[in-house]
């Protein structure tokens, strides 16, 4: 899984590379544009284009029918029935391309969450490091050795919470940069990257997980820990990120879907795709 994640992740790094110092909006517009292109391609080659065209024409015709024969209840009702029927047929035609698109789209969304989902830390900020440990590791008897590079300060002794099987520390971001945090537990050493960056668009991986298909799928930003590691996961609780527009805070997912749809409709004529 990590091989796939690292290659797929690299593609996004290349795509976003030129936009890292610009407002996240540019990167967002660009990726939405690419997504629209991808969706149009998928639609073009996996859907029944002729069928969609016919269905849409039929719907238009029946709409016209309703307007022309608005005095005749009979005709209107029949036309409305037909519109409903062709709408269902239209949905039927769209299912195939949607099915084809859904898996790549989920993979893309998971990647985008690394870029847009979290704010990187700023100097002076505090953040929680949360380590989830294995069921059979004693929280109180295990020594957690933790070290950090100089730009990052470990402010507290370990806080062990039996209820959730986790150990917490408070970290303080002193300087900008990508800092390394290393932890040794029962002779196993782990290194986790912590981003205190000033670029506007950063790739931030909050969670490092143990080798496991599902966990790796949803946390693709970093190489996983070996499957037998006493630590289940290591998480930096970065603050959530929002995109800001005229003072409004909007979740990036909404912006992404809205822009992709706008681009999709704007470009469908250019690529002669029926949607």
């Amino acid at each position: 899984m990590w091989v796939f994640n690292s290659i797929f992740g690299k593609i996004f790094e290349i795509v976003f590379f030129p936009f890292k110092s610009m407002t996240p909006w540019i990167g967002m517009i660009f990726i939405s544009f690419l997504t629209a292109l991808l969706m149009l391609c998928v639609f073009r080659f996996t859907s029944h284009q002729q069928g969609i065209k016919q269905v849409k024409n039929k719907i238009k015709a029946h709409l016209l029918e309703i307007r022309l024969f608005k005095d005749s209840l009979n005709v209107s009702l029949r036309a409305q029935g037909n519109i409903l029927r062709y709408n269902l047929k239209y949905i039927g035609y769209s299912i195939k391309p949607l099915m084809v698109m859904i898996i790549p789209l989920i993979l893309i969304l998971i990647q985008l969450n690394l870029w847009f989902g979290h704010q990187s830390l700023t100097p002076g900020q505090e953040v929680i490091l949360k380590v989830e440990v294995d069921e059979d590791l004693s929280l109180l008897d295990t020594e957690f050795l933790i070290e950090s590079s100089s730009g990052l300060v470990i402010e507290t002794p370990p806080l062990r919470i039996e209820e959730t099987r986790e150990v917490n520390w408070k970290l303080f971001a002193k300087e900008t940069g990508i800092h390394e945090l290393s932890m040794t537990v029962n002779g196993h050493r782990i290194v986790k990257k912590v981003a205190v960056a000033q670029k506007s668009l950063n790739k931030i991986s909050p969670v490092k997980v143990r080798r496991n298909f599902i966990d790796e799928l949803f946390h693709p930003g970093e190489a996983p820990l070996p499957a037998n590691h006493p630590i289940k996961s290591l998480e930096i609780k970065y603050p959530s990120n929002y995109m800001s527009l005229f003072g409004w805070r909007i979740h990036w997912l909404i912006v992404y879907f809205a822009l992709s749809i706008i681009f999709g409709f704007a470009l469908k004529g250019v690529f002669k795709v029926e949607i």
Partner: protein, 661 residues
């Protein structure tokens, strides 16, 4: 669309496009009203409670170079304060150019004459009178209202009429902010989210600390089970539900079994604190009904984990980003400040003096909190100062007042709880805040050009507070006030033990004394006119001649018949007598809300050890300006016509002062 419109449209589209691409960097800035730049500018620093005596001592010692420089450039005077010298009254004199007879603010606390019940003088809350009830829910059909009680127009409203821009930052006694298009944000008088003037929460495992009734906060007893404390943070009353329950938020504190560290989890906030650490602002949301919630901000302070667990949560401030009550004009102004500075203190007097008085916070912890307040205030000052280029800027600081109230005992060897060791540690707190204000003034002076009138002023000065006076006990012992049961004396607030049918006078609030007047009070006994007039004179004479058997001094320096000292349309609501206490004396802690303790005089053993609710002659304020002052003893209400005159505006009807320049 004609050509011009289209061009405008394109411009608009381009600029909004630019804003869009700016993304997070874009911000909308609240404009002040003024359309044209003014030639003259007025910059006023309102330094609450700054005392002329201390100012002069430290100026002489060269510790306040900016104040000295400003005096050399212009002038310095003791500023006559209001009667009584309480901040809401004093600042209202300044705001309106009237005295309490005109603006109707006589004290922090007024009363309802019908029921004798005390009420806060600043604002009245009217709940929605039309509601609809669906099952357990009560939905308002018309909006409730918070109404400013002060009468008369504020000087920035008059400036607005003349198109002169003004920014008025945290003017006391202006909650809710008087309607205006000028940039204003409310200060003293603004409640916390629960509608209280101040209400902290304190969670402790130490049983001895749990008291039933402490003013200004609540102490909760908690237990540690499996290294976790589970507790609940009380929120505002849920008026959407039929039985009006208090809302609340449950939270958890996880404690390490051995290490001194804890994690607090409340809603989506999760943060780690060591003992002695503050959390910074945390935003919380009280859910009322599925579509309605109320936002607040508060700070956590983990005082101690072992041997006893102690957690303090500051009063919940109204969230400036989504204010549940009106705190600024235009309403955007508080949001704009929040965007730039993050959450900030919105509660009227932000420092938690009640927590210090109740030993929930100690001197050092209180100062840490007040430093947050002061630093935030200074940061915002630089922001406002940097964009001040026309009209008027008024900027207010509360830390001067609050630190003098709480730390006077460290510079006053005669204070009943003076402790030389503590004095060594905190004895320079007051001097330091004066020096901090000197640095602030320096910044203002840098910004001052030849067309700028710069004024540094305070609403009153300060005096020690050694002994407290129970006016109702004095009235009772002199036959003016009657009790139902003698043995109940001193046990209840709100005149619960008063026999009104035999009572001629009662004291309520910090300086007010009222005659139990027929036709005005619910159970009045004294006829208005000659009978009342004679009684007023008699009480004044007896009050002024009363001596403290312990010191031989007169606790009351001067008592004023309000009909002699007030003018204006609000006289019918005024107390009949204002008690002006002598230096070292003040009303007792429990008398303002109608308690009648057994002794007339008591030592003040509280940490709140400096005060100003005395006779105005005892506690004048300061007035330092870069212009020559042309009148001998200027008063607060003289500054209002002064401001207007600088902008060539005539003083309005009802203003009683005259320009000082």
């Amino acid at each position: 669309m004609n050509r011009v419109n289209r061009r405008d449209f394109i411009k608009f589209a381009l600029s909004s496009g630019a804003l869009l691409t700016l993304g997070s960097g874009s911000e909308l800035v609240t404009k002040t009203l003024g359309k044209s730049d003014t030639h003259k500018k007025v910059l006023i620093l309102g330094l609450d409670g700054m005392d002329p005596h201390l100012l002069q001592i430290w100026m002489k010692q060269g510790k306040l170079p900016s104040f000295q420089k400003l005096w050399n450039q212009g002038d310095f005077r003791r500023l006559r304060t209001s009667t009584p010298p309480q901040s809401p009254v004093a600042w209202s004199n300044f705001i309106t150019g009237m005295n309490p007879g005109g603006h109707g603010i006589f004290d922090f606390i007024h009363r309802d004459p019908e029921s004798y019940m005390p009420k806060f003088s600043g604002a009245e809350i009217k709940e929605a009178d039309k509601t609809i009830r669906i099952g357990n829910l009560v939905l308002p059909l018309s909006g409730g209202e918070v109404k400013l009680s002060r009468k008369g127009r504020a000087f920035w409203q008059i400036l607005e009429d003349h198109d002169i821009p003004a920014t008025v930052f945290k003017m006391p006694g202006n909650y809710p902010p008087a309607p205006t298009k000028q940039r204003t944000i409310s200060g003293m008088g603004t409640p916390d989210l629960l509608g209280f003037l101040s209400h902290f929460n304190y969670y402790t495992t130490e049983f001895a600390e749990v008291k039933e009734d402490i003013g200004g906060g609540e102490i909760h007893e908690v237990y540690i089970a499996e290294n976790t404390v589970e507790a609940s943070l009380p929120g505002p009353v849920n008026t959407f539900k039929k039985d009006r329950p208090d809302s609340s938020i449950d939270f958890k504190v996880h404690i390490d079994p051995f290490n001194p560290v804890a994690k607090i989890v409340i809603q989506d906030n999760e943060f780690i604190l060591k003992p002695g650490e503050w959390s910074g602002w945390k935003r919380i949301r009280f859910k009322m009904i599925p579509t309605q919630s109320v936002n607040g901000i508060c700070m956590f302070y983990l005082k101690q984990i072992r041997p006893e667990f102690k957690l303090y949560i500051s009063p919940i401030n109204i969230d400036p980003a989504a204010p549940a009550l009106p705190i600024s004009t235009p309403s955007n102004y508080s949001k704009e400040l929040e965007k730039r500075f993050g959450p900030f203190f919105t509660k009227g007097l932000p420092a938690d003096t009640k927590a210090l008085d109740n030993n929930v916070l100690d001197d050092g912890e209180f100062l840490e909190q007040d430093d947050f307040i002061l630093n935030e205030r200074l940061e915002m000052f630089e922001h406002e100062l940097s964009r001040f280029d026309s009209g008027l800027l008024f900027y207010y600081v509360s830390s001067t007042d609050q630190r003098q109230h709480m730390f006077w005992r460290h510079i006053d060897k005669k204070n009943p709880i003076y402790d030389p060791n503590q004095a060594k540690k905190y004895g320079n707190t007051i001097e330091n805040i004066y020096r901090e204000m000197d640095r602030m003034l320096a910044k203002a002076m840098e910004k001052t050009d030849k067309d700028t009138v710069l004024i540094a002023m305070s609403d009153h000065g300060f005096s020690p507070f050694h002994r407290s006076f129970n006016p109702n006990t004095w009235l009772y012992e002199n036959g003016y006030h009657a009790l139902i049961n003698k043995w109940r004396q001193g046990r209840e607030d709100l005149f619960m033990n008063t026999d009104w049918s035999k009572t001629k006078a009662y004291a309520l609030g910090l300086n007010g004394l009222y005659i139990n007047q027929k036709g005005r009070e619910g159970e009045g006994t004294v006829n208005p006119g000659v009978e009342k007039e004679a009684l007023v004179r008699e009480i004044i004479q007896n009050l002024e001649s009363f001596r403290d058997p312990q010191t031989g001094e007169n606790p009351v320096l001067k008592a004023y018949a309000t009909k002699d000292v007030y003018q204006g349309s609000q006289m019918d609501k005024a107390p009949d007598i204002i008690i002006g206490y002598n230096q070292g004396y003040r009303v007792s802690w429990s008398a303002p809300l109608g308690r009648i303790p057994k002794n007339i005089l008591e030592d003040n053993r509280e940490k709140w050890s400096g005060d100003h609710c005395m006779a105005p002659e005892v506690v004048p304020g300061i007035l330092v300006t870069n212009q020559k002052i042309n009148i001998d003893s200027p008063a607060l209400f003289d500054l209002t016509p002064t401001i207007l005159q600088i902008f060539n505006i005539k003083k309005t009807e009802g203003m009683i002062g005259k320009s000082i320049f």
